[in-house]
Symmetry: C2
Subunit: 451 residues, 2 copies
């Protein structure tokens, strides 16, 4: 049995949903189908979820909403027309949406969750109607009825253990099951959404629950690329990578799959296959526990800018038990999360994303560090880039660092920081933000170049 | 004005003390002389400080002590004989020691401090007598009378700010001032010692107090070597290095100068010159704020074994604000100090010296980490070596890491960890303990080799 999930662009139009039908029905093992809300059909298009957020906020503020409401409904109307469906399904969707929008607004977060979730929910109903119109046994499944129980955290639901037991029973149902992504229900029956992009999570939970042999995640790219295509033309596609590699790459530029969505599949050891709805015969990228496909020590290169470093120096720092812990405590008191803490004997740098660090926070943090830790010196540097090279193969490969550092040196990039821990499958390089592209290109050429 | 300090081997015998006399009197600027207790004259010899510790402990335990006591006095007798001094000085030393040994034992730590400090104190008196016998104006100076005020922490005294003001007045005294190292007095007049090897600290405090132009530290090596001579034959001597470089090198194998002793000189910007009593014309090694002598990006390579790593892995670790801080808190609760914390996205390794980490502590630490941090995986690895390459020049030198990593790769050494922070003057490599020598040799050849 396979769980198949289709992302926003895969269900954005009637034409796309016909592809979904073909993909699902071409393999009888594709029994459970998770769908997103209709996404973008072209670059300037607006996702239904974004329309719904606007619509919900307008209702909350008692503004004029007719236009936004109609924009939402029209997306379904267009899809239904393309698919030759009767008006019944549109009437059903409109009535559902009206009921939600005129519902209880005493808890705005809960109201917004219900509005947002309607995007997936109504699309699942519409797609079910289409499958049925093609003479296939298909059933819409409501997450509440199926028992997808989650924690009561609007916009950040976490699946509860009992959900898996409930969902296991879906195995016994007949026909193709069309399941809306993105939300579940709390123990007391309240609708709660996952974090944005959470349809990936629904699919992973279902794959775990029913014990699927594979979780196919259809999107609009042929594969996960080994490097950001904005930096390198026609980068190599990754055929196979491990959960751990995928996670390390998720640092940046590898946002094809939701972070949290890997967990249920990972826990159950179910491979995830990223595939392209528009090119389903391409093998895509498989995320597995252990990979057989070996193409050198490095499988991918990720990078991101917008990091800053707080450098702290104090003579005999390494004799002071608790120094590092107290430094991190100060950051924690300001709700700051950090990425790395490279250190010497008497100094330590903390690398964090600078978007959480405005000048007022900087001033307060620096003041507390100076006062409480009595440091000799503190410096904050902005606009650093972090580059990760990732691959299980580098773990025992003598010379990967030598190749990487040599490639960077040859390209004239200075290394501000380096971080590699024991048993890791990644190496981190900190460079100036302006050097990011040059550094990534040099590393790609070294590990994937044709020369 | 220069402050000159002579280490244990430089004052271990009459013959050595004659060299001290020649060195001091050859330069009229050498006005303040700090002396250690008599050290080893040959490899199997026992330091007077160690004899005194034994003697003090025997007195505390009411054991038979005649033999040990006589061993101490005999060292001074032999020195006095070599120097042609009369018995007066020996009578004075014996009487002093008897008084201390029969003194108050209600506070054993304080009693031991007094016994230990007598080694330096009596040697200062003896050396003063010798200088006077040679017709030179020399005065023994007692730290109490001079106002060397320290915190009341037996065996770990810290200098107090007012000491510097008091010591400044030594400038106005006439003649050569012979000052015993290793101890000061608390505000209420109790003798308190610095940590072991603390005569270096006394010299540094005096240099700061009198505003010396240089602090000469005479020991038994021609210079600080760029690498451990046990690993490389005839290693290059370091002519100049900065305080920061010296500190980074102190990781291991560079124990010629006491860590804490750098601080007072560093704060006052006084250069420290490490010189050889047995070869005083050699230039030695100068420790300065900024160095002019440039011999490539790396000035030295230090290494040490006996490290272990605690590797912790948890999916989505980097989303958990406070994870690293809580991990370090657990180590702190066990009084463990750590060296480095290289990290990936979902994992972190803590590197610490394994001598503080017995199997019972390991069991408890691992249990708490598992329970409180709910980690997916935890592994403890032992017998790692840490290698530091150090040099102010590498800070802005593109390619130092490339050269180091390539040299290590060519020698077949796998890098378990790498750590380099921003603005640092060192790079840290973690390798298997069994690879330490090979790794150090490869790095030495790369940065100092003749080829």
């Amino acid at each position: 049995m396979k769980v198949v999930k289709f992302g926003g662009t895969s269900v954005a139009s009637g034409q796309q949903i016909k592809k979904v039908f073909d993909i699902v029905t071409s393999d009888p093992k594709r029994k459970i189908v998770v769908v997103s809300a209709p996404g973008k059909r072209f670059k300037e298009d607006v996702k239904v979820t974004d329309l719904l957020i606007k619509c919900g906020e307008e209702y909350l503020n008692n503004g004029s909403v007719k236009e936004t409401y109609e924009a939402v409904v029209n997306r379904y109307v267009e899809i239904a027309k393309e698919l030759g469906l009767s008006n019944d399904i549109i009437d059903r969707i409109s009535a559902d949406l009206q009921e939600i929008l005129h519902g209880d607004k005493s808890n705005p977060a809960r109201f917004m969750d219900a509005v947002k979730a309607s995007g997936e929910d109504n699309n699942a109903k519409l797609i079910t109607a289409y499958f049925q119109s093609r003479g296939v046994e298909a059933h819409y499944v409501n997450p509440k009825e199926a028992g997808l129980i989650v924690s009561d955290e609007p916009g950040n639901a976490q699946v509860l253990p009992e959900a898996y037991e409930n969902l296991k029973k879906l195995r016994d149902r007949s026909g193709i099951l069309i399941f809306p992504g993105f939300f579940g229900y709390s123990k007391d029956g309240k609708l709660v959404t996952f974090s944005r992009g959470g349809s990936d999570i629904t699919g992973s939970i279902l794959a775990n629950g029913v014990g699927a042999e594979i979780y196919e995640n259809f999107t609009d790219v042929d594969a996960v690329y080994s490097v950001n295509p904005n930096f390198v033309e026609n980068p190599k596609e990754i055929r196979e990578l491990t959960y751990k590699e995928m996670r390390e790459l998720s640092y940046a530029g590898f946002a094809v799959f939701h972070d949290e969505a890997l967990i249920p599949a990972f826990r159950a050891g179910i491979p995830v296959n990223i595939k392209n709805t528009n090119n389903p015969s391409a093998p895509g990228t498989k995320i597995v526990h252990e990979r057989t496909d070996s193409n050198g020590p490095v499988v991918g290169i990720a990078s991101d800018t917008g990091f800053c470093s707080i450098y702290v120096n104090k003579y005999l720092m390494n004799r002071e038990i608790g120094f590092g812990r107290r430094l991190l405590q100060i950051l924690e008191d300001f709700g700051l999360s950090y990425e790395h803490t490279p250190s010497g004997i008497d100094d330590i740098s903390v690398i964090l994303r600078q978007d959480q660090f405005d000048s007022e926070t900087e001033r307060k943090v620096v003041e507390r560090i100076k006062k409480e830790l009595e440091v000799d010196n503190i410096e904050v540097a902005y606009d650093l880039a972090v580059i990760m090279i990732v691959g299980e193969g580098m773990r025992k490969n003598v010379g990967t660092m030598a190749r990487a550092a040599t490639a960077l040196a040859k390209s004239g990039v200075n290394l501000e920081m380096i971080n590699q821990g024991s048993s890791e499958v990644s190496m981190m390089f900190g460079v100036k933000g302006t050097d990011e592209k040059k550094a990534v290109q040099a590393l790609y050429e070294e590990f994937f170049g044709t020369t």
